[in-house]
């Protein structure tokens, strides 16, 4: 497996809003090449408060040229997108990969979304431990994007021709084989999807959705604070101890 692209950026929006926008991101003006997005499965785990989603995206245009150079010309391609939102960890992990030719070579884009620590977001120390329950700022979200090439070849050889050609390259070979142009395109794609998500987030803000989310969150923090310091908290603790 070859790591090919690694980049960190942030959105000036709360984590919850960014995860919502992720599921609402198609269509947007930067995604005209995305023809459809279907949910294949969605599993909610109430114990761990996680939500796992698999979606099937159909995109017009070809796979990155670094892949299509081995493959016939493709006009449309299916992409499998898996995402896990973990509320306890305050983290969303996503992974997208090409579905066709997957056995030969995959381009895998992984993203990790987390609330951005307040000292980094605001340049100040955040000493309020109750804020967000995690000590993290809740108005900025950091995203790390890693793009990797993944090949199943070597041990198992499924496709003749293309397969042996890729296999003979070995890890270093694939890396050398990737043109600067392909890297540039990958970078532009990541940038475009970032801009697309920003437009969706802006729309949510305009509609007042984000204000509602922040308000709810603040109410919850206030409740937590009251519970921790007030009589309610003491009663609450006694009750727990009694059980």
């Amino acid at each position: 497996m070859v790591k090919f692209f690694d980049n960190v950026f942030s959105y000036e929006y709360p984590f919850s809003a960014v995860t919502l926008a992720y599921y609402l991101r198609y269509p947007n003006p930067y995604s005209t090449h995305v023809l459809s997005a279907d949910t294949l499965s969605r599993d909610f785990d109430p114990v761990n408060q996680t939500l796992t989603t698999t979606r099937l995206l159909l995109k017009r245009g070809k796979l990155p040229s670094s892949v299509t150079r081995f493959l016939p010309k493709i006009k449309e391609s299916y992409i499998l997108e898996k995402s896990v939102v973990d509320l306890k960890k305050m983290e969303m992990r996503t992974e997208t990969r090409n579905l066709e030719w997957e056995g030969v070579l995959s381009v895998v884009e992984s993203q990790t979304y987390t609330p951005l620590p307040a000292p980094i977001a605001h340049g100040t120390a955040n000493d309020d431990p109750l804020r967000n329950g995690t000590g993290l700022a809740d108005d900025h979200t950091s995203v790390r994007t890693v793009v990797r090439f993944e090949s199943r070849l070597g041990g198992v050889q499924k496709a003749e021709g293309i397969a042996s050609r890729v296999a003979s390259w070995g890890t270093g070979g694939v890396q050398r084989g990737i043109e600067a142009a392909a890297y540039q395109r990958m970078k532009e794609n990541v940038q475009r999807s970032k801009e697309g998500l920003k437009i969706v987030l802006h729309g949510l803000r305009e509609k007042g959705v984000i204000a509602t989310m922040v308000e709810r969150r603040e109410r919850k923090v206030k409740e937590m604070r009251e519970r921790a310091t007030g009589w309610g908290g003491i009663w609450g603790r006694n009750k727990v101890e009694a059980e």
Binding site: L24, S36, D38, T39, R42, L56, E102, G103, K220
Partner: protein, 81 residues
């Protein structure tokens, strides 16, 4: 909302998507949901989608992708030892 790859499934998809977005923002993100309220609507949409996937021959491709994912997990596990 995004389109479905099968136009005939778009109405069911739209109903489900609307339900999901509401559940996600009103309940899930608050951290106090115990059930996925939109499951019945998802099952409707899924029923339609499964037929379309089969017609397009995508079901086999998805099965293979699932097998590949399992294999990857297995290799990852083996790599740890």
């Amino acid at each position: 909302m995004s389109a479905s790859l099968a136009p005939e499934c778009s109405p069911a998809k739209e109903k489900y998507d609307n339900c999901f977005i509401k559940w996600y923002s009103d309940k899930f993100l608050k951290g106090d949901s115990t059930t996925d309220d939109c499951k019945p609507l998802f099952d409707e949409y899924r029923k339609c989608l499964q037929i379309a996937l089969k017609e397009k021959g995508l079901d086999k491709m998805l099965d293979e992708a699932r097998r590949n994912a399992e294999e990857r997990e297995l290799r990852k596990e083996q790599g740890k030892h």
